[in-house]
Amino acid sequence: MDINYKLFTIFIILFSYYKNVHDLHMFQLNSYRQERYLKWYRKKYSKFIKDYDVMLLLGSIIFIIAYTNFDNLIIKVIITIFSAILISISVFIYVFRISNENVKKKLVYTNRIKRLIGTLGIIYFVFSVTVIFSNNIILIILAIILNVFSFISILLSNYINKPIELKIKNKFYKDAKNILESNKHLTVIGITGSYGKTSTKNLLYDLLKRDYNVLITPESYNTLYGVIRTIREKLKPTHDIFIVEMGAKQVGDIKEICDLVNPDMGIITSIGEQHLETFKNISNIIKTKGELFEGIKPNGKAFINISDENIMKIKKRSDIEYIKYNNLNDDIVGNYYADNIKISNKGTEFDLVDKDNYVLPVQTKLLGKHNIFNLVSAISLALEVGVKYEKINNLLKDIEPIKHRLSLRTTTNRYTILDDAFNSNPVGSKNALEVLKNFEGNKKIIITPGMIELGEKQDILNEKFGEYIADSADFVILVGRKQTLAIQNGLKNKNYDKNNIYIAKDLNDGFDKINSIIKTGDVLLIENDLPDTFNE
C-alpha cells in the first residue's frame, strides 16, 4: 500500500477522533445509557443523510478508485487534490454544524469522560499503528465506516471500560453506605410518586429547615447514582434529616435506592400511568413505587394517600405504622385531611384536621388543588417528624409560588391577577379555572391564547377547555381569532353569552380591552403559553 493511502487513512482516523469528542458529549447528555443514546441517535439522524458524510464518502470513493485504477501520476495528483477538497468540505461542514448546535449543557470533563477519551485514544493509536505496518485495503474501509458511524467507537470504548466503571461505582456505593452508617442519628425520608414528589420534597424542606439540619437530593438527582453523589458530596455528620427523592423507570429502581439509604419514613405521593413504555403496565408501576414501603425500616412510618386507589393496592406490612392522609373533598377521612378550603386574594386558607380532631387553620400563598394537596402531605410529614403545630403557619409565610405558575399578584388599582402564563397542559389549566371559579372576587375575567403543542388531540382539548371556561369565567378574552376557534366552539356548546366574549387581535389589544372593563375587586386569570415578552 502506498504512503498516500496510509496518510489518508490516518487523517480519517484523526477526524473520527475529533467527531468522537462530540459524540461523547451526546453520550453524556444521554446519561451514558447505551440504549437511550442509540434511541436518541436514531431519532436525530433518521430523517436525513448527513451531508458531511456524503462529502466524505464521495471524496474517499474517488480517492480509492483513482489509486486502484490509474497509474498516471498527474491524474493521481489531480484526483487527490479533488478528493482532498471534498474531504475538507466535509470537515468544514461538520465543524460548522456542531459549533452552531445549541446545547444547553456543555460537555463536562468528568473522570468518566476522561477515561473514555483515554480508551478511544488507545483504540485509535493501535489502529493507526496497524495502518502504518499493514497493507490491507480493508483498513481504509474500516476507517471510513468508523468515521461515518462514529458512535460505534463510543459503544466499543464504553464496553471496554465497563469493568473499571463497575469497580468505581461499587467503591462510591460503599463510600456512601459508610457515610450513612457513621451518621447514626440521621432520619431518612424517602419520597416517590408519579407526580407531586418534587413539590412535596421542596415543601417538606421548607417546613423542616428551621428546626433541623436538612439535606435534600437536588433536582434530577433521583436515581441511585444521583443519591450516591449527593451523599458523598453533601451529607455532613451534622445533618439531622436526609430527604431522598426516588425516581423510577423500571421495576427495582426504588428498591436499589432503599437498600442504600434504609428510609425511616416514606411517602408515595401518587401513582399514575407515567413511563408506561418502560413499565409495560400499571401493576408494575404500583409494584415499583411500593418498593419504598417495603424498604422502610421496621417501626418506621409510611405516609399513605388513601384517596389514591393504586397506592391502596400496595401490600400492607404489620411492622410499620401507616399514617393516612387523603385527597381534598374526599369522604373517607385519614389521620390528616384538609377542610373548609377558601381561596381569596390572600391565597388559600384551609383547616388541617388531624386524627384527634385538632384543627390547625393554615394560610398559604399557594393556589390550586395539587399545591394544597402536596401541602397537606408535607405538613403531616413535618408534624410527624416533630415540628410544632404553632410553627407551621410561620414557616408557610416564606413559601412563594413559582412565578407564572398560578402565582398571585394584586395590582395597584386593586384588582387581582392570577398568573398562570407558563402553564400549557390540560390538567393545569383545569386547576387554574377551578381556582378562578372558587376565588372570592367580583367579576372573573380570563385572557388566553389557548393551549398549543398538544398534538392531534389539541382541538378536542381546547374545546373542552372552552367548556370549562364557560363554567368559571364571567368574561372571556381570546387572543387570536384563528387559533382560538376550538375554544370558541367549547363556549358555544355551553351557550355562553356572546357579549361576554372578546376576540383580541393580539396580546396588547387584549390588555387594552381588560383595562377598559376591569374594576376594583375583579380577578383576572392569565392562562397558557403567552409569549415571554409578557413580563411586567
Binding site: 451518621n183 428551621r210 439540619n213 455532613k236 455528620p237 451534622t238
Partner: protein, 389 residues
C-alpha cells in the same frame, strides 16, 4: 459522627483557666457517642496543636513537653469541607488529620472570646458553638457594652472612659472628666480584658495617675467606674438564642476564685459535683422574689440587645444600700462553662453541651438562608480600563 474541634489555650491572660475548662468539657462530651472530639491547643505564641496527650491535665504542668509531643497543625478548606492538616505539610501525602464539622471555642479572654476566632470560623465556614463575631466582640469591650445597654434601658454602673492616647496627650483633661462625673473611691479598669486582672481601686486624685498608667498596660481604652460600696455580686447563666432562652439559678460568689479548681472537677459518672465548696459560692443565691425577677428580666433583655447566642454568664452588682441592680459584665465563654449553675437548675452539663451543639447547627442554618452574595457579577458590565493609570 460529628467531628468536633475543641479550641483552648491561646494568647490570653486566662490561658491556663481555658485549659481547665476545656478539659472538663471534653470529659463530659465523651459521653456523647455521636462525637469525634479533636482537641486543638493554641499555645501562648498562637501556634496550633493537636494530639491525645493534650487531654491530660497533668501533662500541662510542663507546657514545653506537651508541645513537643503534639502535632502542629493548620486548617485548610477544600471542596466545601474544612480539614485539620499537619504543619508543615508532608511532601508526598495530603497530611489530613481529620475533617472539622463544628468548632467549640473554649478560650477565655483575648483571641478566643473576643470574636477574632469566631471570625476565623466564619471564613472557614465551620459552624461554631457560642456567640457570633458581633456579640463576642461587643461584650469583650466594657465601654461598648455599656453604651448599648444604656440605650436599651438596662441599668449599668455610672462610668466615663478615655483612650490611652487621650491620656498621653492631656492627662489633666481625662482626670477632670473623671472627677466631674464620679466621686472617690472609684475603679479604674481596662475596657477589654476578660478577667479581673488590671482592676484598680482609686481613693484620691493622687492615685489616678498610677492606676491609669498600670491599666494602660492591658488595654488602650480605659474605663473609670463608680465604686459600689455595699455590693453583692450575683451571677446568672443564660442559654439559648434569639428565639428562646433558658435561665439558670443565680449564684453569689463569696471568694474571688474565678473558676473551679480541677480537683473539684465535674464527675463524668453523672453524680452531682463533689467538693463544690459552699464557702466559695452560694448557689442558689439568697434573693427576694423581686430581686430575682429583676435580674432575670435584665439578663434576658441584655442577651437580646447584644445579640448573644449559645451560653453566657452575666454578672450583676447589687447595691444593697440603694437597692439597685446593675449589669456588670458578660462572659460568653465563662469559666467551667458555668456548668455548676446549670446543675443547680437540674440541667446536667451534658444536656447543656448537647443544647449548645443544636443551637450551633441552628445558627448556621439561619445564616445560610440569608442572602449574602450577588448572583450576578457586577464587574461583567463595567469598563475596567480606567483602573490602571
Amino acid at each position: 459522627m460529628i467531628n468536633l474541634a475543641v479550641f483552648f489555650g491561646s494568647r490570653s491572660v486566662e490561658h491556663e483557666v481555658s485549659i481547665i475548662t476545656a478539659l472538663q468539657t471534653i470529659l463530659t462530651l465523651k459521653e456523647n457517642n455521636n462525637l469525634n472530639i479533636q482537641p486543638i491547643y493554641i499555645d501562648k505564641t498562637g501556634d496550633w496543636y493537636t494530639g491525645d496527650n493534650l487531654l491530660e491535665i497533668d501533662n500541662f504542668k510542663n507546657i514545653k513537653k506537651v508541645i513537643a509531643n503534639s502535632q502542629k497543625i493548620n486548617f485548610v478548606r477544600e471542596n466545601g469541607k474544612t480539614y485539620i492538616v499537619k504543619s508543615p505539610l508532608p511532601t508526598l501525602r495530603k497530611g489530613i488529620i481529620s475533617q472539622v464539622d463544628m468548632a467549640f471555642p473554649i478560650i477565655h479572654g483575648s483571641y478566643g472570646e473576643d470574636g477574632s476566632l469566631q471570625g476565623f470560623f466564619e471564613h472557614m465556614q465551620i459552624p461554631y458553638i457560642g456567640s457570633s463575631v458581633l456579640a463576642s466582640a461587643t461584650t469583650m469591650d466594657k465601654i461598648i457594652t455599656k453604651l448599648i445597654l444604656k440605650s436599651s434601658g438596662v441599668n449599668v454602673v455610672d462610668s466615663v472612659w478615655f483612650s490611652a492616647d487621650e491620656w498621653l496627650n492631656d492627662s489633666n483633661k481625662c482626670i477632670k472628666l473623671v472627677e466631674d462625673n464620679l466621686d472617690y473611691p472609684l475603679i479604674i479598669k481596662p475596657s477589654d480584658i476578660g478577667s479581673s486582672i488590671g482592676v484598680k481601686v482609686v481613693k484620691s486624685k493622687k492615685e489616678v495617675e498610677d492606676a491609669v498608667n498600670f491599666v494602660r498596660k492591658f488595654s488602650n481604652r480605659i474605663l473609670a467606674e463608680k465604686m459600689i460600696q455595699n455590693m453583692r455580686e450575683i451571677n446568672i447563666s443564660v442559654l439559648g438564642d434569639s428565639e428562646e432562652v433558658e435561665l439558670s439559678v443565680c449564684e453569689e460568689p463569696i471568694s474571688d476564685d474565678e473558676f473551679l479548681t480541677f480537683d473539684n472537677k465535674y464527675n463524668s459518672n453523672g453524680s452531682s459535683t463533689k467538693g463544690m465548696s459552699s464557702a466559695k459560692r452560694e448557689i442558689p443565691a439568697k434573693l427576694t422574689e423581686t430581686e430575682k425577677n429583676t435580674i432575670e428580666t435584665m439578663a434576658k433583655e441584655s442577651f437580646r440587645a447584644l445579640n448573644l447566642s449559645g451560653l453566657c454568664r452575666i454578672d450583676f452588682i447589687m447595691d444593697t444600700k440603694e437597692k439597685k441592680i446593675y449589669v456588670n459584665e458578660f462572659n460568653t465563654i465563662p469559666g467551667s462553662l458555668a456548668f455548676y449553675l446549670w446543675e443547680a437548675t437540674n440541667k446536667s452539663f451534658l444536656e447543656v453541651l448537647n443544647t449548645l451543639i443544636k443551637l450551633s447547627s441552628k445558627k448556621e442554618r439561619n445564616e445560610a438562608m440569608l442572602i449574602r452574595t450577588n448572583k450576578s457579577n457586577i464587574l461583567s458590565g463595567v469598563k475596567l480600563g480606567g483602573l490602571k493609570k
